[in-house]
Point group: C2
DNA sequence: CATAAATATGAGTGATAGCTCATATTGAAA
DNA sequence: TTTCAATATGAGCTATCACTCATATTTATG
């Protein structure tokens, strides 16, 4: 049986040409979400802005959600890589400095493209775990979790809760600042730093 | 000139019947956003769940965005009223208690319907100020702003920044908890309380 | 060059969403 | 009861969106 089920239409790019096409599509998707929001986020619009035909898009992505999922995944993996790098670079150094650097990364990630970050977050939840999205996200959490575990701090709640809350409050503050049109990143860093350190109970320097 | 521009088709309900219709529509809209998300949020679906015809919906709302805007506005006004009530009730009492009560209100507002709260927030920003949404939101902010102003606390940043950040971090923590499927509201309150009080520099009790 | 695989194209298709409008029903005032 | 405004109805129009497919072009390889 299984006569001719159209075999999951997603070719893997092998030539440089098609790799560029896929990259252009993902970049276009990001830019459209950023500037037009979900309403303007159509596959035809993405293809057009990427400078490729709609047919090309569907050669590499079986459907629209797959484009979104790829965007989310790329985004998460970039973030994970940066945070792991910072974590390595600050090994042995004071925790305050490491937290500062991590905040810098996180803020940079969502502050100058607030709408995009927000919508990626939304779509990530909508798509759920069914697309294998969670792996990179867990690596991100793990960086902070183990940093806190090794810190010797007397945490106000259990380790997982504190980890989640630190992310969440930093996320919340950044989100609000971004949507509010703020531009002073240094100032934003200072505020998040204050919020995080005081939540953790790190004594003032 | 101006021959017969279809005069902004929005009737104001005058009989009890139509008031009930409008309420049913808004309630249905909320429930659909909560359970189906933006994908299932169509005017036809809203009308169906409200138990009215699609034509009735368009008698009272000129378009889909107007339904959303009304939902947002109702939501904001409920929130504003509750916070103002708490603010009045706790006048003269210790600021810690008032903050607790305000957190209770805020958490209650978005914790048990996290998806709805999230999407309302998103749509609110998408619609922008063009719908006169901001008035109730400003009242909400004002409650906390004046509470802080009268507190005599030595704030870590300027008043408006602190106000915004307190909202944002509480919002972030609640959002994450809600999406994470947590159910223990008391515990969540404690965490937000800790985050807010330590951010504000209120000494431990 | 020859050939086949990889890649690109874009008009077209089916489904659905927002919204209209002609008509029907209900309620209130006289 | 008569009459008219208020309210309700839902089939159907139009636009748009996700997605397909037959065809054309480009590249790799021998």
């Amino acid at each position: 049986m299984t006569p001719n089920l159209p075999p999951k239409p997603r070719k893997t790019p092998v030539q440089a040409r098609s790799t560029a096409t896929v990259e252009a599509i993902l970049e276009a998707a990001a830019r459209i979400l950023e500037t037009e929001g979900l309403e303007g986020y159509t596959t035809n619009a993405v293809a057009k802005r990427a400078g490729v035909s709609i047919g090309s898009l569907y050669q590499y992505f079986p459907n629209k959600d797959a484009v979104t999922a790829a965007l989310v995944q790329t985004d998460s993996e970039t973030m994970a890589a940066r945070m792991e790098e910072v974590s390595r670079a600050y090994e042995g150094k004071p925790i305050r400095d490491c937290i500062d650097a991590l905040i810098e990364v996180a803020v940079c990630h969502q502050f100058d493209r607030p709408m995009l970050a927000r919508l990626i977050d939304l779509e990530e939840h909508r798509l759920g775990q069914d697309f294998g999205l969670s792996e990179a996200k867990q690596r991100i959490v793990q960086v902070v979790r183990s940093l806190l575990a090794q810190s010797g701090l007397d945490l106000p709640f259990d380790l997982d809760t504190v980890t989640q809350d630190v992310f969440a409050l930093a996320h919340g503050i950044t989100d609000a600042a971004g949507l509010n049109g703020e531009t002073d990143r240094t100032r934003l860093n200072a505020r998040i730093r204050h919020a995080v350190l005081s939540y953790l109970g790190v004594p003032a320097s």
